[in-house]
Each structure stands twice: as C-alpha cells, then as structure tokens.
Symmetry: C2
Subunit: 348 residues, 2 copies
C-alpha cells in the first residue's frame, strides 16, 4: 500500500486502498496536521479562511477523522458505557433512547450491555466498558458486587447509578425511591377502603428494585395497622402468564385479598385477563394496581391504576448531568431524585 510521505504535492490522492489521513488533508489544504486537527476539534481557534480550506479539502478527499486515534491521543473516548438489566422492557428502552437522544448530538456513542439482573455479569460488563476508557459509565441500580464497586470507584470517569437513589452513591445517582413507590401504592389501595392486601413480585430475588417496591408496600400496610399482606414471588419477570398464575392462586385462597399490587403492569394485565375469564369484577371484587404505566395501562378494560416511573426523565437527566461534567471536569457527582407518579385509574 504505497503512500506519498513528507510535504506532498497538493494533488488528489489516487482512489482505492488506504484510508485518508489528516496528513493527506493537510497536504491538500497546504497547512499542518495540527491545523487540520484544530479545524475539526476546536474550529474557533483556526482562522475562517484556513478552516474553510481545510474543511473543503477534507470533504474533497472524503476524510473522516479516526476516532480511535483521536481517543488514544487525547486519552478519552467519546463513549458512554451503559449497563442495564434488560433490553426487553420498554423501561430501560425509554431511558436509553432519551440518553442517546442527548448524547448522540453531542458526539458520544453508547456502548450498551445487559446482564439479566446478574451481578456477576454486570461485573464483566463494567470491566469491558472500562477497558474502552469511556467518557462515563452508567449502571442500573444501587447494588453491585464488591468487584464492580471497586472497579467503578477506581474509574477515572463519571459514574452514574440510575433508576434508584441511594444515600451514598458511588459518584452520582439519578432515579427515584422504589420503596416509596411501593408505599404509595399501598396507601392508595388502603385509602380506597381495602384492608386485605397482597403483593405480586416478579423475580424479586434478583430485581432488587421490584423487591424494594414490595418492601415499601408491606411496610405501609403494617404501619396502617392492616394484617401483613401476602406476598407472591414469581420466578419470571413481568409476564402476563405470571400474573395469571399469581392471581389464580390468590383468588383461590380461603381469604382472597381485596386488593393486589403487582410489580409490573404486564403482571396486572394477566390478572385482568384471568379476572375476565373467571367473571371476577375489577375493581368491585378486587382492586388491581400495576407498575410502569406502560401504554396499555391507560386503555385496558378497566383502565389500570399504576405507578409511572420517570423513565425518559432519567435518561435525559443522566445525559445532562454527564454533559455538564464533560464541560466542567471540576464538577462532581450529585443525587437527583426524579420522583414517580401514582396514576389512579379504574382498576383500583
């Protein structure tokens, strides 16, 4: 792969093999590589005339800076590693879209990984992300393995934990209190006159935020002087099938609950399906509440009472926080509580 070296003649390079480098652009524009680099990186530090010439030459040659080389030289890659539990739910999808929506235009790419609520896999993903010297790393939740924690603490970039807020985050946290969300649902159901409550949680052993909601739910019931709610723990996460099974078990008990809260709207949807089959009236016979405020919750028959987490807002806030810190490396982490919203509808 022959290539003209040194102060080349300002000719167009032959088509074909070999990538176009800054050196080539510099030669054609009649400037140094530093100027070309500046014209792209900090346009204001280059005179309008030269900037024009550089950009024009670059355009003519079809030059695209190698972000790999740029990252290595500047010791910072415009990558943000994002680690979420799953790519299947619209929850994290919303957050990712909001995140990418702000990060993309700012020139940052997302490197995404998912771990199915497995802390060991999270560990591997965090390590893999860190290997790229990312500009920042975003993880989900406030609970991590020892190794993840120390890797994150050692990281030379901003670290944000999202979807849950803890008192002492590693660096920054953006989310809301899942426990409070659980309490809010219980209080709402209790205010509706229900006394025998139940909670159905999907994969709470691994999904610690669902577990936190369940915990808050039970707490609030006890504080209100009600009998301890029955808690059904499902193996799977968020499936209508799980909701159907749990609903059936609960309603077939000697003393069926008067209200059931689910850790996910899909679970509640399953209960709606099963209630319809059984002729159980919602909310007359039993009140139902979900979590997530997925699109169908507002349109089901009956419409579903649920909790709306700040999915998009989390993504936007994380992005804004990071962009601010990229601009001002002096800025530190912060805790941003975005809250949640209880959406009372017909089901309970």
């Amino acid at each position: 792969m022959a290539r003209a070296k040194g102060s080349g003649l300002p000719e167009l390079r032959a088509t074909g093999g070999g990538r176009v480098r800054m050196e080539d652009v510099a030669a054609v524009a009649g400037v140094s590589v530093a100027t070309v680099s500046r014209a792209f990186g900090k346009p204001d530090s280059v005179s309008p005339e030269l900037r024009r010439r550089v950009l024009e030459s670059a355009e003519r040659l079809g030059f695209r800076p190698s972000v790999l080389a740029g990252s290595l030289a500047s010791a910072r890659a415009r990558i943000v590693g994002v680690v979420v539990p799953s790519l299947l739910t619209s929850f994290f999808g919303m957050t990712l879209e909001a995140l990418a929506g702000r990060l993309g235009p700012a020139g940052y790419q997302m490197m995404v990984g998912h771990h199915e609520y497995d802390l060991e896999r999270e560990e591997a993903l965090v390590a893999a992300s860190l290997d790229w010297s990312p500009a920042a790393i975003v993880v989900t939740g406030a609970t991590h393995s020892r190794a993840t924690l120390s890797a994150l603490a050692r990281a030379e970039c901003p670290v944000v934990e999202m979807w849950e807020i803890s008192e002492r985050p590693i660096d920054a946290a953006v989310g809301f209190s899942n426990r409070e969300a659980g309490r809010a649902v219980a209080r709402h159901l209790i205010a509706g006159g229900r006394r025998r409550l139940a909670f159905v949680g999907g994969a709470m052993a691994r999904d610690l935020r669902a577990a936190a909601r369940g915990q808050g739910f039970v707490e609030a019931a006890l504080e209100a002087g009600l009998p301890e709610p029955r808690v059904e723990v499902l193996e799977e996460r968020s499936s209508t099938a799980g909701g159907i099974a749990a609903f059936a078990r609960l309603m077939d008990a000697d003393e069926p609950p008067e209200a059931i809260a689910f850790s996910n709207d899909f679970l509640a949807l399953g209960a709606l399906f099963e209630a319809q089959r059984r002729g159980v009236r919602i909310p007359e016979d039993v009140a139902l509440a979900g979590y997530g405020d997925l699109e169908f919750a507002a349109n089901s028959t009956p419409t579903l009472t649920t909790v709306r987490p700040p999915h998009r807002a989390i993504g936007t806030a994380v992005a804004d926080h990071l962009l601010r810190r990229f601009e001002d490396p002096g800025a530190g982490g912060e805790i941003i509580d975005l809250g949640f919203e209880l959406v009372a509808r017909a089901s309970g």
Copy 2:
C-alpha cells in the same frame, strides 16, 4: 504524573495515578512488551513459562490492556455497530440481547443506535459507527438512503441487514419476508371463512416492514378474489390507543369487516379492549390477528392469533455469521431466510 521510564526495576509500581501499561508488566515479568502483547493476544505463541510469568505480573499490577491502543495498532476495533429503528419494542430488544449474548463472550462490544425509522438519522448513525472502524456493522431493513448505501458499500467490514431479506443485499442479510408474513395472515383469515378483510398498520409510511406486511395482506386477499381490504394507516406505531381508534372506525363503518389484521400485537390488544367495551364478540363478530407474538398474545382473553417473527434467531444468526467471518476474512456475505410462524389462536 511521574512515571519511571526505561528498563525499570522489577518493583511494584506505586499506587495511585497513571495507568498500568504493558511496559510495566513487561518490566515486572522481565520480558519485552512484545511478549506481553503476545501473551494476551496469541497465547500459543509464547512459552508456557513466560506466559505464566506475564499473566501473573499483569494480575499483580492490575493491568488491563487498553483496547483503544490495541484497536488503533491493529486497525480493527472489537466493536459491532448495530443500528435499529427503536429501543422501545421487545422486537429489537430480543435481537440485541441474542446478538450481545454471542458477541460479548467473543470479546466484541455493541455500539447501539436507534433512528425511529428515519433514514436520515440512520445515515448519521451509520457514519458515526463507521468512524470507529468497527469489526462489523448491522443495520435494520433493506431500504436505506443513497448516502447510507454508499457508506456501507465502502465500509471495510462485514455489513449485515437484518429483519428483512432482499434479493441483493449490500453484503449479507438475515431475516424473513415481511410480505409473505402479511400474505400468510390473509390466507389464514380467508381459510376461516372471512371475506371482508381489513388491515391496520402503524406508521407504515416509515416502518417499511409493516408496509410490506400490509402489501402482502392486500395482495393475498385480491388473489383470493375477495374485495380489496380496507387499510387503516395510523400515525403512531404499535399502541393500544391506535388499535382502539382503528377498531372503532372500522366497526362503525357501514359494512364492518369480518376480520382485521394488525401490524402489531399491541394494536390488536387495543382492539380486544375496545371490543370488550362494546360487547363485540371476538371472533364470532369479527376475527382479529396481530403480529409479533408478544408474550401477552398467548394469554389474552381471547388468545390472539398472530405471526411470530424469528426475533432471537435473527440475533443469533447475525452473530454466528459475523463470528465466522471474523475468523475467516475470506468468507463473504450470505442471505439467511429464517422464516416466520403463523400462530393460530382463539381470536381468529
């Protein structure tokens, strides 16, 4: 940030500032950087003894190779750029999870971007991906802008188009025929004795695969000698709200259809909700069919007839195809038709 240079003493480096480089590991292990590089990159080319020493020293120092530097030096980054329309539906989520599930263990990271079915945004995402010199790039669908097409054609890496198969893909294609899927639904409904058909499509102007299904649906109806199906095009994609509105419009018409196919299960779910409200019996009064075989389709009341696309299989097949080509750079693109499955249930 002081750092010992030259042939250092084989001491442990001081804690704190500065990253551990191969040079440090080499010094401690008493070998050259080349050997350290080989010990990590091609372990078989290093004697067992030295390999052990290198790995041990690396471990002791907490050394992690800079993949940025490695990528630059070898001119290939272990990144796969993946561009999907959306991160909100489990369709692409499934594919992404399957893809990451195979690519991750092989040492490749996914760089994900979404474009909301906007070909211009796809163009930008493809360009941004290419800037990283990825090992491969995966895009969704077979239709792209001129610029995207030429950028992809010029790319020095495998390019795979997924979720649709075309006769002449840019390089490789993994998916199924959306048009055939539409035809299959129509044939199924017709076989059930329905003659007045309708199709409800979400955002078909942009979601070209949904449009292809609609086209196939209409074609099959005409071929069967039926009157041309009414086609309702919705602005939004896949919402129960849209399904409700379309169902209402269709059923309020002078001659309501005997069967309705939707471009998405959520649309059909909305119709189910609305039918329940109106007391319209499914499938007695009107048959309903969806697309996607989302989890709830098997559990709704009534259960939903739908088409199951090979979401996971697409991800796995794309990953396998790529991994094969990474091993054997001589291998070329291929067209992999994974088919789809019509799942007949109670709704139609």
